[in-house]
């Protein structure tokens, strides 16, 4: 009775309800049953919609046939409900303060005119992408596999901005804050704090995404781009950069977006691991864009399996595809992006010679030899972070 109630009313629950009595945490394929909503958000086509305040939008599977994610299909994830609904690009400034020689207020125009422009093609993925794969259900939005995208980001180097301000000798941490606000004044801002050492020349303050202004919901007019890192660090509507010598305790750094600080980054639901660490860099992952679960394909027809693969910037070496439940694997054809942080798009020619249901699986391997585990072999963690199981779609050959 209870179970049926859930299925009727909860959009999120469907895949995860089965088998909750296990004491060890398990993992399975993420939920792939949700459809895009009828309602479109500003500058977006209709996407899978979880929340309006804050806006939470997921890309459907078909998005992952494309090497660059179109801006209007790009996922959206905000933490605080109050986002400015009006931004005047002529008045927008970014403030650089703290342990700097000279405090700066740089206008959007100055940023675009006075600094060298650089571009980087890079994947942006939420640390909780695919969270619906975890059982018992990990707290947080029950994302399918669509909380990720890849774009060509254009902007200026963070280091150029910091150099212009001049860092003090004891500068060690950089805090980033955006313009989103909570409903209560006392609520902490979504500030990210990174160690200076972590920030290389690939880190940029971006004002363009795929040749256009950033969409409003992706952080217009400026966002931080940290290639290889999960998106929680890519602060949107960036308005403030503060240099410090001491780590400031922050909720979104110290409590959220953390995994167990052990080698497997895992734990059991009954015995959570005591110490945690930030999720930082991404693990190797791939997602199939075509075909999709439940599609019918013709016997002896010519199918092109397509998808995207990435890691934290070491680069993808191969994406292997299996159509016999993982007994044999064959190399797909890879098309690299313009940077090592970009998607590698893969294609695989498949001719279904048997009738009935077939599982198509894709497994990415990076240059270090890291490869994706089977969905069931991904280790459980309480936040449902960093899922990277081998993606599987089931088609019916008719």
């Amino acid at each position: 009775m209870r179970r049926r109630d859930f299925l009727k009313t909860s959009i999120a629950a469907s895949a995860a309800i089965v088998g909750t009595s296990l004491s060890a945490g398990t993992t399975h394929q993420p939920n792939d049953t949700r459809e895009v909503s009828k309602m479109a958000f500003p500058e977006k086509r209709p996407l899978i919609t979880y929340s309006d305040r804050p806006p939470l939008l997921e890309s459907p599977r078909s998005t992952y046939t494309k090497q660059l994610t179109p801006n209007d299909e790009f996922f959206v994830r905000w933490h605080l409900p109050d986002i400015p609904t009006h931004i005047d690009p002529d008045a927008y400034t970014i403030h650089i303060n703290g342990l700097v020689e000279k405090e700066l207020h740089i206008s959007l125009k100055e940023l675009k005119n006075d600094f060298e422009h650089v571009e980087v093609e890079a994947v942006l993925q939420c640390g909780g992408n695919s969270r619906s794969a975890f059982d018992p259900i990990a707290g947080g939005i029950q994302w399918g596999s669509g909380a990720m995208g890849s774009a060509l980001w254009k902007g200026v180097r963070l280091s150029d901005i910091l150099n212009r301000a001049g860092l003090h000798k004891d500068a060690k941490f950089i805090g980033f804050n955006g313009k989103d606000n909570a409903a209560y004044y006392e609520t902490p801002n979504f500030v990210r704090e990174l160690e200076l050492e972590e920030l290389n020349d690939h880190v940029i303050v971006a004002f363009e995404m795929n040749g256009e202004d950033l969409p409003y919901l992706n952080g217009y007019p400026l966002r931080l781009v940290i290639p290889g890192y999960y998106s929680d660090s890519w602060v949107k509507m960036l308005s403030n950069i503060t240099v410090t010598n001491k780590y400031k305790s922050l909720f979104f750094m110290d409590v959220a977006y953390r995994v167990p600080d052990n080698e497997c980054e895992c734990e059991t639901p009954d015995e959570k691991f005591k110490t945690t660490k930030p999720i930082t860099t991404m693990n190797v992952k791939s997602v199939i864009g075509y075909p999709e679960n439940g599609m019918k394909v013709y016997h002896n027809s010519h199918i092109v399996v397509r998808g995207v693969a990435f890691d934290d910037g070491h680069g993808i070496k191969d994406v292997m595809v299996s159509t016999d439940d993982g007994k044999t694997w064959e190399k797909s054809i890879l098309k690299k992006g313009s940077s090592r942080y970009a998607y590698s798009a893969f294609r695989f020619a498949y001719k279904p010679e048997k009738y009935g249901k077939v599982n198509i699986m894709a497994k990415a391997i990076d240059r270090l030899g890291n490869e994706q585990p089977l969905a069931k072999d991904v280790k459980w963690n309480h936040g449902g972070y960093k899922y990277n199981g081998i993606d599987t779609v089931q088609v019916e050959v008719v």
């Binding site: 629950a13 309602m39 979880y50 929340s51 309006d52 804050p54 619906s132 029950q142 902490p188």
Partner: protein, 102 residues
Amino acid sequence: MKKILLLTLLSVGSLFAQVKGDVAVPYISYEIKMGKGFDSIQANCLMCHSFGYVLNQGPQSKEFWHKKVVKMITHFKAPITKEDVEITTNYLFEHYGNGKQK
């Protein structure tokens, strides 16, 4: 002819002015289960975030929901009274629980 030109200019203009003027984020109406304690949910939870945020946590234990409510007080500084902690936890567990205490 002038009219056509003007129209063309206008449409080109709107193509490139991506975020000029106000942007309206649509409101979504969620299917909400009414029941004892919902008033408290409305006053304490929906002030800050949508019901979708609740729904999309998936069905959870009583302890999970209790911890979520307490997190809103500790970390997000939501002014939720002791009494309302209990009322909201009970509502969430009754309607969006997994049947388990822990």
